[in-house]
């Protein structure tokens, strides 16, 4: 009787399986990303192209759930020698890899647009867009994935946008306050003086959200069983 591969090996196998499963569903979003890049190029706005690519990549993170659900593949994961937590960690790694690829692709296109149309890109804005977009991506995944694990893609998809709308409402309320502009100025001044901290805040904040979400997803899956 075998004892199975290592936990790391199984997580990586699960991640590979996720990419295999999602492969077919990634074609259409790739076309959409090219359209978004074109839109950024048309407007001669490299940051716009970058931000749109990163924001749209959130949808890519959900395609694996959609494809697996359509194909009753939860049974496949149940049959394979895999622990539930390994499936969950593999799925979050999938989301992380999608975001990193989107960051690289978006940055390359943004730089290309900047060169072609001789639009200047300053470091602070570039890092700000990257950091905020990554943090938003992680936030969206952190909210959506536990819901997808618990209720499935079809049932949960509509609710995964609720926290984003909530954030929007909070943003509008904050902007309505009189000290908002001065507070925002202080934040901008701080990050202008310490530019290296911006990606650290964005990446660290995003990763913390994902780690919390992994724990929530694991608890939710255990409870559902």
């Amino acid at each position: 009787m075998n004892t199975g591969t290592t936990s790391t090996g199984r997580i990586l196998n699960s991640l590979k399986l996720d990419f295999f499963a999602a492969k077919a569903g990634l074609r259409l979003p790739m076309i959409v990303i090219m359209v978004l890049v074109m839109a950024g190029a048309g407007a001669k706005q490299p940051y716009l192209a970058l931000a749109l690519v990163l924001l749209f990549s959130v949808i890519l993170g959900g395609t694996v759930f959609s494809t697996l659900e359509k194909n009753h593949a939860d049974v496949m994961y149940g049959v394979l020698p895999l622990k539930k937590i390994e499936i969950i960690i593999g799925r979050y790694l999938y989301a992380l890899i999608i975001s990193v690829v989107a960051l690289i692709v978006g940055s390359v296109f943004a730089l290309a647009i900047s060169r072609i149309f001789t639009v200047k890109m300053d470091n602070l804005t570039f890092l700000a867009v990257l950091s905020v977009a990554f943090a938003y991506y992680c936030f969206a995944v952190a909210v959506a994935y536990p819901l997808y694990f618990r209720f499935g893609f079809t049932k949960a998809y509509i609710f995964t946008m609720v926290p984003t709308y909530f954030l929007g409402v909070v943003g509008v309320i904050l902007m309505g306050r009189h000290n908002f502009t001065s507070n925002l100025n202080s934040v901008i001044q701080f990050f202008t003086a310490h530019q290296y901290l911006m990606p650290i805040f964005g990446v660290a904040g995003g990763l913390v959200l994902l780690v919390i979400s992994v724990a929530v997803a694991n608890a939710v899956v255990a409870r559902a069983r």
Partner: protein
Amino acid sequence: MPDALEVRDLHKTYPDFTLNKVSFSLPEGSIMGFVGQNGAGKTTTIKLIFNMIARDGGQIKVLGLDNLHDELAIKQDLAAVFDEIFFVDSWRVSEVEKAVSGFYQNWNSAQYAGYLKSFELAGDKKISELSRGMKMKLMLAVAMSHGARLLILDEPTSGLDPVARDELLDILLDYIGDGARSVFFSTHITSDLDRIADYITLIDHGHIFYTGKKDELLEHFSIVKGRPEDLTEDLRRKLIGQSATREGFIGMLPAADAQGLAPAVTIEPPTIDEILVYISKGEAR
């Protein structure tokens, strides 16, 4: 003979269904048919064996190991075929191996290629393009290519034409040929079991009605047919289930109770299908 699968007092409660203290065992090197009508608890039992759902009580041992504590080790030696294919339909047949082989330490690529060849499954075909019978064969090829010692099939023949069903049964008989491998086969098409099963477990509304050797099951019950006037109150009480016919009645009772009936009552051995039908009728009564 050691047991390939041992289920003891398995219990699972849903709001509208209870799997109630299910117990049975499958000796190594045998084929067991797990028979019951739709909704009887067959798939729930199989999902519990794979630990896809949590049980409320009981114990499951696969090849002598507990299915919860030794889940990963067990799943290396356990394979499954379900009524619906669970691979992504946009995959090509050749991609299935790439997707799942990494999970199994004893994956045998040559054996998988051999199965694809003997099942006439082209590697470049998409799963969505395969017929139902070919999908079943693909799942079998995967299931039998990683050295699994227990193959569990959940309604594999439903929706298959008679030729494809016959082929599947031949494959299963060949699979257990070495005496070390076993098959647990859930179905409601009981004619399949007449040909290949050594053991039968009958489940009805979450309860095990019978578990044991197939031949003993058939010897255990009798079908009786007679005119209306032959259906005495005593016989009516003994019948497990009954139906009205144009000539009178037909029903099933324990073989031991079939002695001393009126001479006009005919007694016949049952088929597994008839046993299933009359158990269900008896439950409804």
